[in-house]
Amino acid sequence: MTTHRVWKLGADIDTDVLAPGHAMKHGIDKIATFCLESVRPEFATQVQPGDVIVAGPNFGIGSSREQAAAVLVKLGVVAVIAPSFSGLYFRNAFNVGLLLLTCPDADRLQEAEGITLDTKNLTVISSTGKRLSCEPIPAFLLDMVRSGGLMNQLRIRFGKEPVQ
């Protein structure tokens, strides 16, 4: 299984922190360069494809702007693991193909550790082998993430080629 490096963040990471208002007039590539600038200024330049975010409760509170989820996809983040998410962010994330794992024990994971994800059993396995279970996710949402988001599912529905 692939190992993913952890970026650890605090509680209440809001959508303005993920996709700042001043950047919203730009396209997703530009917005991504400002992702988390006010809490982890080095994040946007140092994050690597395959990394994961581990955060405190209430990740994604605030605006409906889905760019707050799309920037993480753009930067190659494969999942966000947190004890709770904003409900609106939760929908947006799956719609843009970002996996969110609701994990009550997320705080046991450490900054920069390498973890693996068992997406079939919705379990996070820490570098020391600890297994943290996550709350169930409806099958149709897991399918959506696997397809790369709602747009890809619509592409297929309208007889177009899915992207990536």
């Binding site: 809001d14 006010s38 889905e66 947006n92 619509l154 592409r155």
Partner: protein, 425 residues
């Protein structure tokens, strides 16, 4: 369970059941609903939807059910915003959309003011404050642009039937205490995700006594409670308001929570509620105004869908009538809609504010989310808007306090955060 016994349902369940074409729905089940109305604005709408629709080669499922509002990037200030607004205008023309409001004000206020949101409807909005529609007894919630695309091409959306958290307000609000204070109190108590994406329902005598626009403030800030919707059972106040807005008179009789429906109820006493203020940088940092009184302010901002409707402007004017703001304080007023601004002008409310030294800004989102004129470094702001996240209104060093329009006006008057009851007395 016998099929002949009607199941006690919450207002949320009834609204969802209707949209799902079902007799009733159970909390926790995932259902597909038919959308009666899809609203979006210049930022969340055409600039994102147009290219995706074109790529799919798909059409809007029902143009009569779509409302587009230009409110975020108007008036245009730079090349990027000009481009975003131009895309929206061109697309509206191309698609021949029947319901477009350009520069008329903020979507959550303009759309109901034109009779588009009615009791019993199931609506989605491309904006997080879409729960405002719940004030009219409509099930309305915010979604992102990709999901909006899904709605626009299919006319449907899924949801998980929510549990209901009933916020039951007893008693009567004191003079100078408003729906905004009720919300800041609740957000302070339950936190920004305390609503857990369930349905919040506001009820009780203190809610029934509120004007329609005050009810809209409650539903609007359900977003800050993290609820999916913020519902208020429609009544004669709703019916009268909708009629005046040109909507057909709704049949409000069905749209209430049944006796005995399963829900969680919280009780509050409106009579003992004092004005509330939320300190930087979260609406959940809310406390009684006394806790912050005396804090010096540079800017007093009356704006946004949350806090610049006609009733909000009236409240500010009540405080400022015949007075001038403290030296060195900037009072900025951006009415929520053209209709509200015109009514405020007619009533003399606008003149009171201007005489007090207010600067008038366009009826748009403006500084609320860092568009338009924004807040500079180290500025202390008291604002009638909904959010005070770090950097949202401009500089990351700006300190934004949230309060009711009464409190904002009283603070402008004295130059420090002030309990409006001292000034109104």
């Amino acid at each position: 369970m016998s099929t002949s016994t009607p199941v006690a349902q919450t207002l949320a369940q009834k609204l969802i059941a209707r949209a799902a074409g079902r007799e009733n729905v159970a909390v926790g089940e995932i259902v597909n609903c038919q959308v009666d109305l899809a609203m979006f604005h210049d930022s969340s709408g055409p600039r994102r939807l147009k290219p995706m629709l074109e790529e799919l080669g798909a059409q809007i499922w029902d143009k009569s059910r779509v409302v587009l509002v230009m409110d975020h990037y108007v008036p245009e200030r730079d090349d990027e915003s000009r481009k975003i607004v131009r895309i929206a205008r061109d697309w509206a023309r191309e698609q021949d959309l029947p319901h477009v409001y350009d520069g008329q004000g903020i979507c959550h206020v303009v759309v109901p003011q034109h009779g588009h949101i009615r009791s019993g409807m199931f609506c989605v909005g491309g904006d997080s404050h879409s729960p405002t529609g719940g004030a009219f007894g409509a099930y309305m919630f915010g979604i992102g642009s990709t999901e909006m695309l899904g709605v626009v091409v299919t006319g449907e959306i899924w949801l998980r039937v929510p549990h209901t958290l009933q916020m039951h307000w007893l008693g009567e609000l004191q003079k100078g205490v408003t729906a905004k204070d009720m919300m800041l109190h609740m957000i302070g108590r339950f936190g920004m995700n305390g609503g857990q994406y369930q349905a919040v329902e506001f009820c009780g005598p203190a809610v029934k006594a509120l004007s329609m626009q005050e009810r809209m403030t409650l539903s609007n800030m359900s977003a800050e409670l993290g609820a999916q919707v913020g519902l208020i059972a429609p009544d004669e106040v709703t019916a009268a308001w909708l009629q005046a807005a040109g909507a057909p008179t709704p049949d409000t009789s069905d749209w209430h929570t049944d006796e005995g429906a399963a829900l969680t109820r919280h009780e509050f006493d409106a009579g003992t509620l004092t004005p509330y203020v939320a300190a930087p940088h979260s609406p959940a940092n809310a406390d009684v105004v006394g806790r912050y009184s005396g804090t010096r302010v540079d800017v007093a901002y009356i704006g946004a869908c949350t806090g610049a409707k006609l009733d909000d402007l009236r409240a500010a004017a009540e405080v400022l009538r015949g007075q001038r703001v403290a030296p060195g304080v900037r009072l900025m007023v951006a009415p929520a809609s053209q209709k509200d601004q015109a009514a405020a002008r007619e009533e003399g409310v606008l003149q009171v504010l201007l005489d007090a030294g207010a600067e008038l800004f366009p009826t748009a989102c403006g500084a609320c989310a860092g568009y338009g004129e924004t807040m500079g470094d180290n500025t202390t702001v008291i604002s009638s808007t909904a959010r005070n996240f770090k950097g949202r209104m401009g500089s990351a060093t700006a300190q934004v306090y949230l309060a009711s329009p009464y409190t904002v006006a009283a603070s402008a008057l004295r130059g420090v955060i002030t309990d409006p009851r001292e000034v109104l007395a």
